[in-house]
Amino acid sequence: MSGDITLPQLLRRNSESFPERPALREKDRGIWQTYSWRRYWEEVRDVAQGLAARGFGPGDKLSVIGENRPRLYFAQLAAMSLGGIAVPVYQDAIATELAFVLDHAETSVVVAEDQEQVDKILSLKDALPHLKLIVYDDPRGLLNYDEPILESFAALQAAGREFGAANPDFLTASIAAGDPHALALFSYTSGTTSRPKGVMLSHANLLSVAEGIAAAEGIRPNDEHLSYLPMAWIGNSVFSLALHNWVGMTCNFPEKPETVQRDLRELGPSLCLAPPRYWESTLTAITVRAADSTWFKRRLFGFFRDIAERVQLCATEGRPVPLGLRLMRAVGEVLVYAPLRDQLGLRRARLVYTGGAPLGPDTFRFFRAIGVNLKQVYGATELSGVCSAQPDGEVDPDTVGRVFPGIEVRIDDDGEVLVRSGGVFQGYYKQPEESRDAVTEDGWLKTGDAGFLDRRGHLVIVDRARDVGKMEDGTALAPQFLENKLKFSPYIGEAVVFGDARPFVAAIIAIDAATVGNWAERHNIAYTSFQDLSARAEVRQLIRDEIGKCNASVPAPIQIRRFLVLNKEFDADDDEITRTRKIRRRFVAEKYAAIIDAFYREATNVELSAEITYEDGRKTMLHSTLAIGDVDEATAVADAPRLARERVPAAAG
């Protein structure tokens, strides 16, 4: 049972039950190197004893910062072995964000991947009174640093072995004394609305979720998982720490972020979790590559893609698939779908998940259509990551599936989804008031999402509860629903839709630089920069057509009437989007108030001065005049999707 064991206890047990099975695999110098469960434990042991020798103890916090590397996992488990708490942070966070989290969490030890991260932490040293030790993994460039608080990972482990020789029973006793209900991990939420909040999770929280997934989805010890998502994202901790140790499966780490696609293909993992952003950009990449290939291949891909999507539509709607279509599907499997899955590294993927934000139904349908068992999971950091998934055979793009065994869900009077489970968090660190507000007296977590339960008992999420608005004429509007539809266009990178208390719907569009750039090249449109490209009349027309397509599939009142192509991408460094790539709607509305105002003043263009932040934190102002485009009303299609009719009123109720 998940309630009576800690993560380090699990690791020890695994290392004794199957010492020689592969626990971790890391691609190093072009070759996959395996760490057995025994080696995994020995590494964690040495780090833990090293930390103990440096005075790290119960309740202390250790942060890891960097890409997925085995040593960063050793460090997290080592901290937990001593009764400490792991606080993974986003490796691409800019200095001020990082300083906030490390200071708020009172981190005393930081384990950093390389010189870049060490430099970042050292520059913040004075603002971090609790920081006592910085440990680095990759020594490159750090040989001549003369910083007393800096130590190499190897040196820490060597100190650990010495400590272990002098105190042979210390660590075993410390792990055995571990309390499953003690805090194990702080996961700082990306915060679409405010400062990051430190979500406190216990061993029991994390493992109850792992137990739920393992039971509902049949995760096996021989499953292979590729960990390449930000370590600070709760989804990664659930899969690569909790589920990994719970099931005893193998976690793999890519060589570097740029090689993920190739590493995926080499490995062919059986288990895969990625945020919607990944699936959207993968689909975009496929579409672009198809458009760039030869006439024959393009036609072949287009034809079989259509076949696959028609089969998929039949399946979701429960209609029988006509024989001819089934035959063509079989031909397509050989010619297109299987090779495509192989290219994507999903040839052996048994279970493929998308989570963290809703995925556009069309993207979802595409991957299912080509035979990828893509399923939506739903959860929240406050629920230790995941609480529901679509069972095999009951998958459709509209729902987030059934909650795992042992988890309860209900909808309150305002349409907000409430969940009660073993994963419900222990509160926000140092924020007792917010913690009380997040959970009802009888232990239900208020998710902040608006939704309902469908006939099969599947949970359907409509939008963030506070984002569902009403237009002037009373029509309910769930902006995210439209945004996801827009984002299905390969040319649209991000979209923000407005319309609450307004007479019509308008949208700010950020184009996808790669695809629009490619499109421009194919149409002999010269451009110099993103800014220049986004301002081209041809691009505006392209986006207008794309919006037209989206409009054709939604009821007239919520069709998009006006739009503006933004001259920059939404960027986490500008606070417009979170590090997990969720739009911070309110912030965007405030920042671009001038645009929204122009939309509804019926102006044809708008003066914009925006502040942009460079990677090193420098800021600069960008002045420009942007044109606003209008879209004609699309004839409302008779076959407006069930989604639009069913979901939106439900949310309004």
Binding site: L143, E255, K256
Partner: protein, 275 residues
């Protein structure tokens, strides 16, 4: 296999690794290099700067054996190499990169770097044909070193890319990797940052420092970007119209009136840029 890391440059022994004494080179009537003497100590980063046509590349070409000096002598670790051919110089552990990238465009990044290890390979034509046994063992060992360099220069995602398809800055990096594959004790870099944008320059400067720190490689650098030179060099020599007009630490050189006049422009305008 890699040269043993030595103690950091700061307290390196004063042992002279390379000495050029009174070397001159003329091309017809053009005096490219005239009576130049420089001495480079083991473990340091020495830069040679100067306006266009000052003779920097000619000097480098003489050190690496591409040109023969008309007069003067060059010694490397006490061995007189004045009359050595390029291959003999390379065999001494001297590697270089070129101002205009000289990679094999159709070959992959990996193959280009492997090529850099050629002079270190011992198996002959026959055993290479048979491959199994000695040649295979040797190839594995060399590949390991090459992978170390790929890791060091962060080229992992480009291993199998033909170099002709790479961006300019990346090709420069591959060229550096190939030079490093020789495990050089002395590395000659001819404008490694030429034509790069600021970010690429900073990356390259980082790599140069890291190479020097990690393997103790002695480096002679020709570079135009004053900010970079002043930032990373232990010592700087200034050439002007074939003659050495100054030598010293970056700070000394920046203060030298002859340098300010000849190179940085009259009135010392360049100093702000160089600082």
């Amino acid at each position: 296999m890699a040269p043993q890391p030595i103690t950091p440059a700061a307290d390196a022994s004063n042992e002279i690794l390379l000495a050029a004494t009174g070397v001159s080179k003329r091309f017809g009537g053009v005096r490219a290099v005239e009576d130049v003497s420089i001495a480079v100590r083991r473990g340091e980063i020495a830069s040679i700067i100067g306006p266009n046509g000052a003779g920097k590349t000619s000097l480098l070409n003489m050190i690496s054996g591409f040109y023969r000096p008309d007069s003067g002598s060059i010694t490397i670790e006490g061995v007189d190499t004045t009359r050595f051919r390029p291959a003999q110089i390379a065999a001494l552990g001297i590697a270089r990169t070129f101002q205009n990238i000289a990679l094999f465009g159709g070959m992959t990044v990996l193959d280009n770097i492997m090529l850099g290890r050629h002079v270190r390979m011992k198996s002959g034509v026959l055993s290479s044909f048979i491959y199994w046994g000695l040649a295979q063992k040797e190839e594995v060992a060399h590949r390991e070193r090459v992978e170390e360099l790929i890791d060091f220069l962060e080229l992992q995602d480009l291993r199998k890319q033909p170099t002709s398809a790479l961006a300019y800055g990346l090709r420069k990096r591959v060229e550096l990797a190939r030079a490093l594959a020789l495990d050089p004790k002395l590395l000659l870099l001819d404008e490694p940052m030429g034509g790069m944008n600021q970010e690429e320059k900073e990356d390259m400067a980082r790599y140069v420092i890291d190479v020097n720190e990690q393997w103790g490689t002695t480096i002679i650098l020709i570079e135009h970007d004053m900010a970079v030179v002043m930032d990373i060099s232990d010592r700087v020599a200034v050439l002007d119209r074939g003659r050495k007009i100054a030598e010293g630490t970056p700070a000394e050189v920046q203060r030298n009136p002859a340098v300010i006049r000849a190179y940085l422009g009259a009135g010392g305008e360049g100093r702000g840029q160089a600082a």
